[in-house]
């Protein structure tokens, strides 16, 4: 058990980070090279100013007509996305690990706060799940992979929550938690979770075409 723990919290962490960073970089670079070859427009019409203008509107809650029209979704999706980035970085338990291995640490949130936020993430995942099942326009687009991805994202939080509360089998769950986190990281470059990496580029490009060429808003 201890060996397994050491393995997943040691080399496997490295592996997952390497896959995440390396994979993302690889995806970005290969896409950039492909675009250079086949989609010159992307380079020719990309505008920093108008790209950022559009991105900014879309990353501000209620910054676009679409966000304003679906307030519940907007609140959930923003909280969810903020939490899944925020919690792993500012969780005290994670920071202790950083400190143990690298001697670095930073500000962290209280365990109670983390607990609440984890519930928020899990609730959001349930919201997304229900949405996928209930809303016809989402259900129509949904394939098994969408559930798998949702599970990949939810897993680290559910297992983390479980472990933290020391529910039965929490030791095993702790290991599963680490693995789940690693799977999620590693999955980003190679699943639709890549949307996290590609968002600035797709939105930025549309924002540039709308803003710089067509003198219109795209939000």
């Amino acid at each position: 058990m201890h060996d397994i723990y050491n393995f997943v919290s040691g080399p496997l962490v490295w592996v997952s980070f390497i896959i995440f960073f390396g994979g993302s970089l690889y995806r970005l670079i290969s896409m950039a090279v492909l675009a250079r070859k086949k989609d010159v427009f992307v380079y020719e019409y990309m505008s920093l100013k108008f790209g950022l203008r559009s991105i900014l509107h879309w990353i501000i809650p209620f910054g676009t007509v679409k966000w304003r029209k679906n307030p519940l979704f907007t609140i959930v999706t923003f909280t969810f996305h903020i939490c899944i980035i925020f919690i792993p970085i500012f969780l005290s338990a994670h920071i202790i690990l950083w400190k143990e291995s690298w001697g670095i640490s930073w500000w962290y949130i209280s365990d109670t706060a983390a607990d609440v936020l984890a519930i928020v993430v899990i609730a959001s995942c349930i919201f997304f799940l229900v949405r996928r099942i209930v809303l016809p326009e989402v259900k129509y687009l949904t394939s098994i992979s969408d559930y798998v991805i949702l599970a990949i994202v939810a897993a680290p939080f559910i297992t983390g929550f479980w472990t933290y509360h020391q529910w039965p089998g929490f030791k095993v769950m702790g290991i599963i938690h680490i693995v789940a986190g690693e799977i999620m990281l590693a999955a980003i470059p190679f699943t639709r979770l890549i949307h996290m990496i590609f968002f600035p580029f797709t939105r930025g490009y549309m924002g540039s075409e709308f803003g710089a060429i067509r003198h219109a808003k795209d939000w």
Partner: protein, 447 residues
């Protein structure tokens, strides 16, 4: 769990289109696979890939689409739903799809999407569904599957470099005829033909000389009254329209735009001013020119709305008496989402009319008329489909009418076609005009 990708739309199945039927009959699965993979490999790349891989299947784009809204939120008509039924399947099956799949793909891409780009403002990632639907159209073109009417138009473009089979002499003769007619009203009026070195080349779409010659008359009156130094060519290249852009025949699109811009260069004009047409603007401004490697139009193009704005702002046209019926304004996608002319359009409308009532939504968020993107050009068989596909427009217009609007101003030919059918079908008693119609009515005219 997962919905099957293809749900056949029974209603549209009754539509008989020889262009599609014969095209499909000539296909074999092998040919389809070969053509699809060849075209995808040669012509698509990072954009297609990124769009497909980034889409999180969230459905947020759905409510952007008038087809979706008008079909009681039927997901088959949602933007991403159309991509699912076409591009996703094609990629998943690596091009191994059957002829009936192509029939559906053509129906979806060419008659159930106006390429209006409204959904790009509702998808958080800005995924360009219009681009993806254009890719499908391109595939259908390469497979020889296009609706008969629009294909005939594409043929006209190729043979005459205009959309309506207008012969060279008929075009010139129409200009003479309209000049003469207008001289009855303003004796000094002139439509200068081939006047090299003019400030402006006034370009129109072929349906003007063919069916709506009075628009040339009105434009001539406006130009003459405003003292504009303009000319019109006596050669092919006068037509700015482009259905080849919509069928996916990009090689012809390029040829048409080349002829158009080279006509402007030959005439030594400073810019092209074009009539009230949405799709033609798209074609000359940021689609056709790009195929030719002109990053921006080599000779600047000014859409009529912007041109009228200039004339009014500079006082070149004076208003004798404002138009007194309450008006509303249809923001055409291709010049609003396509060029941001909404505020200028409002300036013009307010300068001309006593009372202006906004429809909602408006500006960039206005609903497409459901005629654009070549959809109206697919032929009369598809008329009911357009009308049903845009119930939301009827509701939008009805609400505006309830608030007092009696007249719709739509500075786009396709919008006219689309809205006319909608008004007629729903018995919505509203008048429909171009801006030019109103200017012509209310302006001070020389004698």
């Amino acid at each position: 769990m997962a919905e099957p990708a293809i749900k056949r739309n029974d209603e549209s199945y009754k539509i008989v289109d020889e262009g599609i039927d014969k095209g499909i009959a000539r296909l074999s699965p092998e040919k389809i696979e070969q053509v699809i993979n060849k075209v995808l490999a040669a012509e698509t790349g990072a954009r297609l890939k990124t769009y497909v891989e980034t889409c999180v299947h969230c459905g947020l784009c759905s409510e952007a689409c008038h087809y979706y809204l008008s079909h009681d939120n039927d997901p088959k008509f949602s933007p991403a739903g159309k991509v699912k039924q076409t591009i996703w399947e094609i990629l998943k099956r690596k091009g191994k799809v059957d002829p009936e799949f192509i029939r559906d793909a053509s129906r979806i891409a060419s008659t159930e999407c106006n390429l209006c780009r409204r959904c790009a403002m509702y998808c958080p990632f800005g995924i360009d569904i219009a681009y993806l639907m254009s890719v499908v159209r391109r595939l259908c073109h390469m497979l020889g599957v296009t609706q008969l009417y629009i294909q005939d138009t594409a043929h006209s473009h190729s043979a005459t470099l205009n959309q309506m089979w207008v012969k060279e002499d008929e075009w010139i003769d129409t200009l003479f005829w309209q000049e003469e007619e207008a001289q009855d009203e303003i004796s000094s009026l002139r439509i200068p033909i081939e006047k090299e070195g003019s400030e402006i080349f006034y370009s129109v779409i072929a349906p003007e000389p063919k069916f709506r010659a009075q628009l040339i008359y009105q434009a001539a009156v406006i130009m003459n009254a405003a003292g504009v130094d303009f000319t019109m060519p006596a050669t092919p290249g006068w037509d700015n329209s482009d259905q080849c852009m919509f069928t996916g025949d990009y090689e012809m699109m390029g040829r048409l735009k080349k002829a158009h811009f080279e006509t402007a260069m030959r005439l030594k004009v400073k810019r092209i001013v074009m009539g009230e047409c949405g799709h033609a603007f798209r074609s000359v401004y940021d689609v056709g020119n790009r195929w030719l490697a002109w990053k921006m139009p080599p000779i600047p193009v000014t859409h009529a709305v912007e041109f009228y704005y200039e004339l009014l702002k500079q006082g070149k046209i004076k208003i004798a008496k404002k138009y007194d019926k309450p008006v509303t304004f249809q923001d055409p996608c291709n010049i609003i989402r396509g060029k941001g002319l909404h505020e200028k359009a409002r300036y013009v409308v307010e300068a001309l009319c006593e009372e202006f009532i906004e429809m909602h939504p408006n500006r960039e968020h206005n609903y497409c008329c459901c005629a654009g993107g070549g959809v109206i050009n697919t032929g009369p068989q598809y008329k009911m489909k357009r009308i049903k596909g845009n119930r939301i427009k009827a509701e939008q217009l009805f609400a505006t009418k309830t608030r007092g609007a009696k007249v719709i101003i739509a500075p786009c030919h396709n919008c006219h076609g689309g809205i006319e059918d909608i008004l007629h079908h729903h018995g919505l008693d509203m008048e429909l005009h171009f801006l030019g119609d109103i200017i012509y009515k209310v302006m001070e005219k020389p004698v």
